[in-house]
Assembly symmetry: C2
Homo-oligomer: 359 residues x 2
């Protein structure tokens, strides 16, 4: 078993070699840790900054064995890592954080909403369906228009469709692959917010200010943080965070997406048991960013401060937008973060910029 | 030849695998660059976060060839890289920054002080000596007590001795290895300051606020930045920086150590053509720290802002002091930076902490 808090010089394992893994790896290195990344691709953003890259699938037992040999603590950049792989590591004595409970809840949208409602974190009404007939019944129950999503997988707007009329439900169910789905009521929200929160191994928590988020075609474009919000709204979001974190016996950083209703009610849209795109503003808006905070939590260190030092507008650079790096680099108020991805495919997250103003 | 400004996805080469190389590599990665490190040791702080580690001596032509193949731009963490190696890279079409002129000046204390005085950057009086007799004459000329230093090499107080009486000069000359030396007058200073400055490939410059530095046994213990200083003093330091940077046709970050005399006169103690220990406070005290600034400069990017956002007390963690990481990590005002060095030898720089207060 790992001796916690994890001493500098130890190796932190990361499942996943994308940009979140890269920024986690850089944060871990600042604190004196070495990093081992397990990733399917031989060339990846995180692999290129890690001490050790293990090339393999998440299910590859030889790769997992190598990771277990090298590391004391493992985390992940992506909530769809196989639960079995995490269990396998846990049985080998590796501390995996966030733990299996958070992963199980986050991997199934029905389990997620059930957990949230049971823990005093309200969501939109929802129903589940495994057959075309059940899908029709679910939409009839929830009321159209409703959002149909696959229960598992899906991100950045993939794996979900709007159902305008109950009569379309069977067709949409088929379009989504005839897999188990969740049907969600439409939230009549005034804006989308999110809150990044962390819980340490000692149960201590730390919560950043709310961010206001703008999506396009299901992909995050822009976050404004701290969001303009009365203290009561921030307090409400922090109470929700506290319930979610303790309900999941959580260790690490979590991203909680929220809908703000006209009357100030907050509904939880979804939770991501990892560092989160809407938390990238913390890299230039806080003394300790979400990546260092996550590493601190999983390593069993004390959590760092979360108060804002700057007002930040975070913009994702999608596809060829990143080619304008030269212009961004020349703007005095703009901090540039690029992920080292080789190909600027349309919609691909290539980097982000934080435009900052001292508070 | 490299196309400048250097596009993200390009590889930046770093000569030297220590903590300065590590922090440069992490900064380069944030901007989307890959990093190749050339370092003698197979296991090093910078090597563990680089995409590519080339193990070899700085003089090893095969290693240099490999570095030249991989990179468009090369920089160094250490001013005593062989001038020949830099020339070799330059003849291969690699852009090396800072350039050969800065390196030549910084590698020879007599050339350095001669350059400084010729460029309106005053220093203490000095004389050179190659023989015991000349050493005695030099001390007699400068006046005892005087500081005798080897002309080349030496750092953190190594390679230098005080000469209390001119009669001791021949003995001290022998103790220093009977190599060419410089004899420096004692500066009657009230405090030690330093300034971190940068110059881009377009000649644009950026200067950080002064830091106040405290040494023990020749090793930096503590920097306070921004230093308490009237605007006139900061202005004076910036004028010195500008002369040094343009005189060297400099590209990159430079550290300039200063003595402040009772009347506010600033003398230059020495210059380091690289990121500098007294600039570590910028990691938590500025929006763009000295490491990113250096990468921006050598890559031909615009320079970033240098205004302070926090008051910082930087403390070096020497040897076993770094074992107190757990306590430092628990202090809300303390940002922890550890270098991943395997052995906590006495006096070895294992990390630093920045204790911050918003300005």
């Amino acid at each position: 078993m790992a001796a916690l808090p994890l001493a500098p010089g130890s190796t932190v394992g990361i499942l996943g070699g994308g940009q979140l893994g890269r920024m986690l790896a850089l944060a871990a290195a600042r604190l004196g840790f070495d990093v081992a990344v397990l990733e399917r691709q031989a060339d990846s953003p995180a692999g290129r900054v890690a001490m050790k890259l293990i090339v393999g699938a998440y299910e590859d037992e030889a790769a997992l064995e190598e990771l277990a040999q090298l590391t004391d603590v493992v985390t992940y950049e992506f909530e769809n890592v196989p639960a079995k792989s995490v269990e396998w590591l846990v049985t080998r004595g590796v501390e995996v954080a966030p733990g299996p409970k958070a992963l199980a809840v986050a991997q199934d949208r029905v389990a997620e909403k059930t957990f949230l409602n049971a823990n005093g974190a309200p969501t939109v009404a929802f129903a589940e369906a495994d057959t075309p007939e059940a899908a029709v019944a679910a939409v009839a129950q929830i009321g159209a228009p409703a959002l149909m999503k696959t229960r598992r997988e899906g991100y950045d707007g993939k794996g979900q469709r709007w159902v305008e009329h109950a009569a379309d439900a069977a067709r949409v169910f088929a379009e989504l692959g005839s897999v188990p789905v969740i049907v969600e009521a439409r939230a009549d929200f005034v804006r989308e917010l999110s809150i990044i929160a962390a819980r340490g191994r000692d149960g201590g928590t730390a919560v950043y200010p709310l961010a206001e988020n703008h999506h396009e075609k299901g992909i995050l474009r822009r976050s404004i943080a701290p969001a303009k919000a009365p203290k009561a709204l921030q307090d409400r979001a922090e109470r929700i965070s506290a319930r979610v974190l303790s309900g999941l016996e959580y260790v690490g950083v979590i991203g909680i997406e929220l809908f703000e209703l006209r009357d100030g009610t907050l509904l939880v849209n979804e939770i991501a048991p990892r560092v989160h795109n809407t938390g990238h503003w913390t890299m230039d808006g806080c003394e300790v960013d979400q990546f260092e905070q996550h590493i601190r939590a999983v390593a069993g260190w004390s959590l760092g401060p979360t108060h804002p030092t700057h007002q930040v507008e975070m913009l994702n650079l999608l596809g060829e937008e990143a080619l304008a790096w030269r212009r961004f680099a020349a703007e005095p108020e703009t901090r540039v973060h690029l992920y080292g991805k080789r190909e600027a495919k349309p919609g691909r997250k290539m980097g982000h910029i934080n435009r900052v103003k001292p508070l």
